[in-house]
Symmetry: C2
Subunit: 311 residues, 2 copies
């Protein structure tokens, strides 16, 4: 995957970078969930005027009550500098179309964790793609909703930006300013490459975590008493909202399926090697079980690369 980072001082796409306080003075956040409200909190804390809206008015009220901004109403001046579509992947294209129809903002971005599908869908719906920059903040929590939001959710995290070929450079500059305003690092990547990468670093791990956690649905209480930090860590993200994750997985189905097939194959091979051993060998003797050793060594190597300790 090829990536590039717009430099904050001199080579910002769209020309010389302006402080985010000048580029992004008034924003609208559509969707006051965990991500939308966290962005709103971060930008409000920087003095940006933030308007909030949600298909559930009570959710927008809750976010506003937490200090994330004001609930969007007729008193808001249109257009805002930037509208942030913090809605599920499947809702991005239609939300963009509707927001552009009423001239809500000059520039638009989204935060969905899948980029290629929504981008293609938005183009198909006839959206103005010159002012839309797809985005994906690489932060999150296993909790959801505005009450779980935090202004520092994106601090120091990468934030992928996937502009289409039709995108104006100035739009990238405005969205990059938002990203930096949230304390994150903008990273410009191709949408398809992004989707393959997040299948590996985020979407497939979620399913793997769920598949391990699922084994505990009917485990006896006494077994739960033996649970330690290892299995707690492996299954932590399985607590994520199933409806939200279904939308993400469905929108990135091909790349996720590819990773899951590989994991499933490795596990089946290991199980089969252990079965043979369990039937064919006397207990106590350990001889090298090539497939099992191979997986453990590959796992150790992969983990070292994840933590940046690869040899």
């Amino acid at each position: 995957m090829r990536t590039s980072t717009p430099h904050p001082d001199h080579d910002e796409p769209g020309g010389r970078a302006l402080p985010s306080a000048i580029l992004v003075r008034r924003v609208v956040v559509i969707g006051a969930g965990l991500i939308g409200t966290s962005i709103a909190l971060a930008m409000s804390a920087r003095g940006t005027t933030v308007w909030l809206t949600d298909r559930d008015p009570a959710t927008a009220e809750l976010a506003a009550g937490l200090g994330a901004g004001k609930v969007l109403d007729d008193s808001a001046d249109h257009p805002a500098d930037l509208a942030i579509l913090a809605v599920p992947p499947a809702a991005v294209a239609t939300t963009l179309r509707d927001a552009q129809k009423c001239g809500l903002a000059r520039i638009y971005t989204d935060v969905a964790s899948v980029k290629a599908g929504p981008l293609a869908e938005a183009a198909r719906l006839g959206c103005d793609m010159s002012v839309f920059v797809g985005g994906h903040p690489m932060g999150g929590r296993e909790r959801s909703g505005p009450a779980a939001a935090r202004a520092d959710l994106f601090l120091g995290r990468p934030w992928a930006l996937c502009p289409s070929d039709q995108c104006d450079a100035s739009a990238i500059g405005v969205v990059s300013a938002l990203v930096r305003g949230c304390g994150a690092r903008p990273l410009i990547v191709d949408a398809a490459a992004h989707d393959q990468a997040v299948a590996l670093v985020s979407h497939a791990p979620h399913v793997v975590s769920s598949a391990m956690a699922a084994r505990f649905g009917d485990a006896p209480e006494s077994v739960l008493g033996l649970v330690g930090q290892g299995v707690r860590d492996v299954t932590r993200i399985a607590a994520g909202d199933p409806q939200l994750w279904l939308g993400i997985l469905a929108a990135n189905a091909g790349p996720v399926a590819e990773v899951l097939e590989d994991v499933s194959h490795d596990l089946a091979l290991t199980a089969s090697a252990l079965r043979e051993r369990s039937i064919g060998e006397t207990a106590g003797a350990v001889d090298v079980c090539a497939d099992v050793t191979d997986l453990l060594l590959r796992g150790e190597k992969g983990r070292a690369r994840i933590t940046g300790q690869a040899r």
Copy 2:
């Protein structure tokens, strides 16, 4: 799995409980790895005399240098009150036989994470099973070796004890005193039930973590830059020592294979459902994908039970 907990004050197996300082005054730790050295550190801190030995003399010296005890030599009085066999599962039975031959201690325990196989093997080798109580402290770290040891490694953790039918009640009392001396909670369980339980809470999660981590062995550097806390948690335990884990998995092959087969099956089913969607549907539309939803819901439920938040 049926478990019981010896009460510290009045119903300790073997009669009235005595303070661990009286029951366990002199111990020998065989194997100065992470677990052996952590036990030695905890008991030394309580004033117990601890002798250390390891097949690699430098490892025993290192542990002694960390304050875990003294290296075992001819000056040690035999027999000690208790010998702790902190060796891999496959080495437990022969180590027990050899230690009993030279009258190293009055009572013996081990710390291997698999219990049924080594117990059967020890009986087969003609060991005195009346003074052996199999044990398994449910604590650990992804690091290994004496340098990673900590006196508080077992604090508040369950510690399974799997006495055989031939075991003396007084031996259980002595080993329970060791467990409490390390700050852990003794939990008496049947060996086969223990092995099934740890396959679920520890051994299978290790393989699942490895299979996910293995995907990162040849991932591009740019993808590694997107790694977040989710995949870090899922793959943390994949850093464990492959040789050590091969021994554990081989010794508990049947129960581990059973869990892995279930996980592999769930992942294959999910991948197949996503593949169908990826080919048959237009991007953007989300309709209910029954198999995927089912897994996510089961994962959420299992995770809630793991954290004690089940509905």
